[in-house]
Symmetry: C2
Subunit: 544 residues, 2 copies
């Protein structure tokens, strides 16, 4: 990016005759252009030479080219189809190994890892060292041109041009390095066989992880650091340092790899562009109370927290006088990086809730008995393996029962309840997932389905015919996100910070949110959410 | 309470001549008065008869009278002095047993329980059945006049006049009833030896637990219920039902008997009367963001949750531009009923934090290493048994080191840090409790010391010379609370709801609050709280 005005006759540019400095600048520019030309020519020659040398491989090259490349957004949208592309073919049936798990004992085995391009050191057109980072752990991946391994010089070139902080999937063999590797956390290397760019970060980042990670001693010794304001402004990059990963792991870590986060409820402007927000004055700035931790939990994912959850207050200023709405409620929000598709999120939901239900039934027998005595209810019927239906299947079930519902619209409360009864009758469960919702009824940041953009990679979960959970894969591609925001009539300028956080390298991800008072209400078959809120807040009640 | 106008000539009362009904009402009133007179006479005769019969016991009665009575507030303020009164003498060396733990196997053993007066059934001047309730569990306590057991008729009378929802300490023997007890959860009885009223509830309550606990079926069968608004208005009573104890136990329960609560952050008016609050419009009502969960966690205790904790956002609109203040931070708040004195709270703090520190040191070695690499720090020095010093001792240590500090004032940041160094030098710990703070520097709801009202049953906790925790015993006596609020210049009308919640029966209690970002900052020896807040909010920063 040049800071020079594009049009020299522009009124903001000083007239050339006024400035002697301008002339030397021009000369410098000329010189720089000459050097750049030279550099390009050398690069071209190098490439041509490599190309000549690999001419004999040209037939193989076509098959070798399947071993590297960019993962298309379409592949990341689709669900199970392995024909989607070369990346999908390469990872199909493979499990991802965490970088921190790469140890000497794995030498000789093939692994698939996903991480960020931390740094790259170019040795020659035939060899390079790619350092991949995942949650603060680093591993050296060696890319070496090899006919035997189906690694072409073009693959080396592909790796060379990856922007740092981009996400890559690397498939390769774990090898023991001859000399101890310095500068990485893992003491093994990966001999790369395949490499795919899952998501590309901007070439120029507003903050570099190395600078944010610099110690005081290094800064005093003259190395570049980053000041606190820059770090906090670009917190989504700053949080990726090993230090910050450590600080926030200490604060909340669970055994299944989720980090508990606490996102701010005080936001500048108005959150998500909604109208039903509580507004307040924050030291002279307009502010509002968060309607959900959506933005911040996604930012935590872009900051390499991988799997996060939050239990915290959610604020809705809606005038809903129903049995199931509150103006302040406790949300459980989950967000997670996904490897292949959004069914990974549904897998979690489908396992987590039956687990919770079983635990309550086991550990809270006396409590349930006490509740049942005053408010009789039947135990919730749920399956060990949670039922999953598509929205279209739901519409079809309703249709067969004589209930018409718009296949591209939303279900109303009554229709949801009716569907709940049909599902109970047919599948004997009061807990199920309905997915592939019409795109039109989901937020702009919802990932559309690969095969039909009228539907989206999203789901709702129902208990006793009432919706309790909404979840989806998110759009992590800034261009598609911008396009969808515009289509939904959102002024993209107001969500610039949100969109920008996906430009610094973002993994495919998704999550869900659930109102905890509502879960307890429906689990216990209670008729009013005020019964499960300690000190409820509704449009008329602000006390005690 | 009569709904008749007290002054019949009042303009709101209809003139007598207009209403024929009035005359019959008058007649009814006359009749009622006659009956009431009769009832009182009978009661008096009964008492006199009892008194006559026990005349021979009059010498013993003086010693028997030590076995019942009201616990003085002074006893509940003081710490270790067993001479404080008959209650203190009776419970000294005794442990409280939970009502839910009373089972057949305990028959013959003496127990001490604390609970609320649920109901009382009077049999005669010599016998009564007191049902005691603790966290939704009920046990029948039999009070029988007995020379052998040192139980006088006056003690039976004392029990008879206890208001329901008052707190009592009962000492007695566990006995197996001849017939199965109906209407209680526990299948054993207690033969009462001693009974003390720890806290008295109002005689007339705005809501009765039995009414709040009524099932739909019972209400339809004609029994009195309570509507939702009444129940939510007097939530502190409503939450005492077994049903509500069940609902909120399901939502969050820990192994050491603490229930996790979520209190509302949206409050009517301005919380705690402070000026540094964020104000907002709540559907036309003035509202503010909670500066602490103080009110609601205390209400949870008055609602029989016994031991609660909350992890949630705390809002401070202060213009503090320091390394350790944020406008929104995560507070860990704890509140608990106490049996004897506030050292029970300090015991918890003194055990909990070393436990947490040890767990972090054990489980987060890699994380601590990563943090230390960028921000070098020494491991925190703390003792297995947390050091406890009085404020006066702290002042004395400072004095000996040549630092003058007001013995009835607060310590400033610099003096706190100095004291931290002196404590480290003398006791080799960077974590300690300083207690018995001057009353003048603590909130109005802090319990004064029994031996000197200039000091209070309060404490602060320090890490590396910086305050991280503030805690205290609270005033649970509404009269003393009113008096102290006035002395602090608080308009008691604005905190009426808060004070009133102690009129419906409240146990002695206390608790503490701690900022979690500050704990992590100081544990890791970091120099700025923005390093341990995910997306910090300070007077100038409201994004990202």
């Amino acid at each position: 990016m040049s800071s020079e005005p594009e049009n020299p006759s522009s009124s903001t540019a000083p007239p050339p005759e006024e400035s002697g400095e301008k002339i030397s600048k021009k000369a410098a520019k000329k010189e720089a252009a000459k050097l750049e030309k030279l550099r390009r020519r050398q690069e071209k020659e190098e490439e041509e030479e490599a190309s000549r040398k690999t001419a004999s491989l040209s037939i193989e090259e076509e098959s070798f080219s399947r071993n590297y490349g960019d993962v298309t957004l379409n592949e990341l949208k689709s669900t199970e189809d392995p024909k989607a592309g070369k990346w999908r073919e390469a990872v199909e049936g493979n499990e991802w190994t965490d970088v921190r798990e790469l140890v000497e004992a794995m030498a000789g085995t093939e692994v698939l890892i996903r991480g960020r391009v931390h740094t790259y050191r170019h040795v020659s057109s035939k060899k390079g060292f790619l350092i991949v980072r995942q949650k603060g752990c680093l591993v050296q991946c060696v890319v070496t041109e090899s006919k035997e391994n189906h690694v072409s010089v073009n693959m080396v070139k592909f790796v060379k041009q990856l922007n740092s902080e981009s996400f890559v999937d690397v498939i390769g063999y774990v090898v023991l390095p001859k000399d101890p590797v310095t500068g990485t956390t893992q003491q093994v290397e990966i001999q790369v066989r395949k490499v795919y760019c899952v998501n590309s970060a901007l070439q120029q980042l507003p903050l570099y992880v190395e600078d944010a990670a610099r110690s005081e001693a290094d800064i005093q010794a003259g190395k570049p650091g980053a000041n606190q304001d820059t770090r906090l402004n670009f917190r989504v990059i700053d949080l990726r340092t090993a230090t910050n990963q450590g600080i926030f792991s200490i604060q909340g870590w669970t055994q299944i790899g989720f980090i508990e986060i606490h996102s701010p409820k005080l936001l500048a402007g108005s959150s998500e562009g909604g109208s039903a927000v509580f507004r307040l004055d924050y030291k002279g700035q307009p502010a509002c109370l968060a309607q959900s931790p959506q933005l911040h939990k996604q930012m935590a994912i872009c900051a390499d927290f991988e799997r996060v959850f939050e239990v915290g207050a959610v604020y809705r200023a809606e005038d809903s006088f129903t049995h199931r709405h509150l103006c302040e409620f406790i949300g459980l929000d989950v967000e997670m990086a996904i490897h292949k598709h959004y069914s990974e999120i549904m897998d979690l939901v489908g396992e987590l809730f039956p687990f919770i239900f079983n635990k309550i039934n086991e550990n809270c027998q006396k409590e349930l008995e006490a509740i049942r005595k005053q408010y009789p209810f039947q135990p919730l019927k749920f399956l060990p393996k949670t039922l999953r239906l598509t929205f279209a299947e739901g519409i079809q079930m309703l249709k067969e029962a004589g209930v018409e519902a718009d296949p591209l619209g939303d279900l109303n409360t009554e229709t949801e309840r009716k569907l709940g009864l049909l599902v109970l009758e047919k599948y004997n469960t009061e807990f199920y997932i309905l997915h592939r919702y019409p795109s039109a009824v989901r937020p702009f940041y919802t990932m559309p389905c690969a095969d039909d953009p009228n539907y989206s990679n999203s789901f709702d979960v129902f208990i006793r015919g009432e919706e309790i959970i909404s979840g989806a894969q998110r759009v992590h591609d800034p261009e598609l996100l911008t396009e969808q925001a515009k289509r939904f009539g959102i002024d993209v300028e107001t969500i610039k910070m949100y969109i920008d956080s996906f430009r610094y390298g973002a993994p495919p991800h998704g999550g869900f949110g659930v109102g905890l008072e509502r879960v307890v209400m429906l689990f216990c078959g209670l008729n009013n959410i005020r019964k499960t809120s300690l000190f409820p807040r509704d449009p008329l009640r602000l006390a005690p």
